[in-house]
């Protein structure tokens, strides 16, 4: 089976996601980067599930998808809240509190 290729794809997606979270200053783009990491997790889980010949990974992936949807729902609501109050979704402007 192409286990290495799947894992490589997962690792590349993971790295792009982490890079995006660290570098991007736009809240929506950060959310998308986090989604990339979660999807790399799903690819890993499914690939390992096939190799291990067990369904645990499939169910785990389903839970990850469901929870990720809930997370993004809350996240977008929060981005919307921020946009209403400041007319911007720039994360570098979040500096009300310091020290």
């Amino acid at each position: 089976m192409l286990l290495n290729e799947f894992l490589m794809l997962g690792a590349v997606l993971f790295c792009i996601g982490v890079y995006g979270v660290i570098v991007r200053k736009n809240a929506v783009l950060v959310l998308m980067s986090i989604e990339l990491i979660l999807n790399s997790v799903n690819i890993n889980l499914l690939a390992f599930s096939l190799r291990n010949n067990s369904v645990d990974g499939h169910t785990f992936a389903l839970y990850v998808i469901a929870v990720a949807a809930a997370e993004v729902g809350v996240g977008l609501a929060m981005v919307l809240l921020m946009y209403r109050n400041r007319r911007s979704v720039g994360l570098d402007e979040l500096s009300e509190m310091k020290g």
Partner: protein, 501 residues
């Protein structure tokens, strides 16, 4: 291939007594949501007693389970355990939740709060914590972690029009989600190595041979939880979130949510990674030393009380992590676990009390500055005395709870007896001394400074806040003067169900 795996499905037998706390909480949550939907606004006050009775109701089966002599109850093929460790932690979460409800009750009446939704989210988060204490499987740990975190993100951003509250919620959300994504990546690798999501099985398959993949998986999972317990260098969200969120929510985050993070960390480390201590011991050592030191020194220069308490709670987290840095040494695991449980209990009682006082004082002075505590003793001697007691407990002065938490932590470091553990104990000792600096600052303000604006009208303590202060101060005193009670909890240390299987 998958169809071959699907055998005839039989429904697992369910021990309803063991699940009763979760079922009561779940029922209460549904009832709250329905009542909030259909009740007219004038009758919404019913929701507050309903929320508190749900939490107290869930506490009853925790007690009956603790008193029953059936020992460890294992549900769902050993993926959900009700043992002494999980019962103690469930009790802690429920009591902390009850105190937070008491703290919020008056707050809700004053501010523009959506109380139905607020109680719903608070209880949902509590349900996640209660489930976390029993989870012994990666999937259920992940689901409980999200169940407790997602409502907490919303509660941090509760004041919709307040820019600070927005910022608090946003920072908490982004770093929290990022942390769980990292943790999930680690979990996916772990599943790949061991072929199982059950923690006990992971421990048997994982073995102790050092492969880079195993090190990576363990590292990612530990880092993911380090965000939750706000260990330095993953603490950056904590001060901003604590300061910006409404004060009762801050109390909830800094006590219950943090304790839940530690419970998850302890479960994973002791049940799934007992053989991998060569990976996690150095990580915990560094995290613990950094967390104590950075938290303490940043707390020294704060002028806002909540922000100072945020750094203080980060520093306390470092002390809780301390015994984990040596938990892999032969024979230390039990004492390390006992120390974490003890410390969490003491810390929860004390810190909730501090936040109750912060709310009482802020109601009068309308300020969050430490200088607003000037002369507190002259016009509110009772409050000032209680605050002194809580500060002494946080600083670790006997006979108040805190000293015993620190004592157990140092005890396990010394019993490990390695060079690294002694070095960490010295770092911890220096930090305990540094902490007197900022706890003492508040005491100096209260006892020696004049009242800043000369306003010496006495503070009003609402009945619910009074009850909260009573519960927390009595627990702080009792835990400090009769530490034997806590030792008894710790004896269970056969705890995580791993050793019992």
């Amino acid at each position: 291939m998958l169809s071959a795996l699907a055998t005839a499905w039989t429904s697992p037998s369910i021990d309803y007594h063991a699940l009763a706390p979760e079922i009561i909480l779940g029922g209460g949550i549904v009832l709250l949501l329905l009542l909030d939907l259909f009740l007219p606004d004038a009758k919404k006050w019913v929701l507050t007693p309903l929320a508190s009775f749900t939490v107290l109701g869930a506490f009853i089966p925790v007690l009956t389970l603790a008193l029953s002599n059936q020992g460890v109850r294992s549900l769902f093929d050993g993926r959900y355990m009700v043992d002494d460790f999980s019962l103690v932690m469930k009790g802690l979460f429920l009591l902390a939740g009850y105190v937070v409800i008491l703290l919020t009750a008056d707050h809700l009446r004053e501010g523009d709060y959506y109380q139905g939704e607020y109680w719903f989210l608070l209880l949902t988060s509590l349900l996640g914590m209660v489930m976390m204490a029993s989870s012994r499987d990666m999937v259920s740990i992940f689901v409980s972690l999200e169940l407790l975190s997602i409502p907490a993100y919303m509660m941090a951003a509760w004041r919709k029009r307040d820019l600070r509250s927005n910022e608090a919620g946003m920072k908490y959300y982004l770093l929290g989600v990022f942390a769980s994504a990292l943790m999930l990546y680690g979990m996916s690798l772990l599943y790949g190595i061991t072929g199982s999501t059950k923690l006990v099985e992971i421990a048997t398959y994982l073995g102790s041979d050092l492969t880079s993949l195993r090190a990576l998986a363990v590292f990612f999972i530990v880092v993911g939880f380090a965000f939750k317990v706000s260990a330095v260098p993953f603490h950056t969200w904590a001060p901003d979130t604590y300061q910006g969120a409404p004060t009762p929510v801050t109390a909830f985050l800094s006590v219950a949510s943090k304790a839940a993070g530690f419970v998850a960390l302890v479960t994973v480390v002791f049940v799934a990674f007992p053989g991998s201590h060569d990976v996690w011991q150095p990580v915990f050592w560094i995290l613990s030393a950094l967390t104590m030191t950075v938290g303490n020194f940043l707390a020294l220069k704060q002028t806002n009380i909540v922000r100072m308490l945020a750094y203080s709670s980060i520093a306390q987290g470092g002390f809780i992590l301390m015994p984990l840095a040596v938990a892999g040494v032969d024979g230390v695991a039990n004492s390390a676990l006992r120390s974490v449980v003890t410390y969490l209990l003491v810390y929860a009682a004390t810190n909730l009390g501090v936040f109750a006082i912060v709310m009482v004082v802020a109601r009068k002075t309308r300020s969050g500055e430490i200088s607003s505590y000037g002369g507190l003793f002259s016009y509110a001697p009772g409050i000032a005395t209680l605050m002194t007691m809580f500060m002494a407990s946080l600083a670790g002065i006997p006979p108040f709870g805190g000293w015993f938490g620190k004592f157990t932590a140092f005890q396990s470091l010394v019993s490990a007896g390695t060079t690294w553990s002694y070095v960490l104990a010295i770092i911890g000792g220096i930090n305990s001394a540094v902490a007197f600096g900022y706890y003492g600052k508040i005491l100096r303000e209260m006892w020696m400074k004049p009242v800043p604006d000369g306003d010496t009208t006495p503070v009003t303590v609402y009945s619910s806040l009074g009850v909260a202060l009573g519960i927390t101060s009595i627990s702080t005193l009792v835990l400090g003067t009769f530490p034997g009670i806590v030792i008894h909890f710790g004896d269970i240390a056969g705890l995580t169900g791993a050793f019992i299987k």
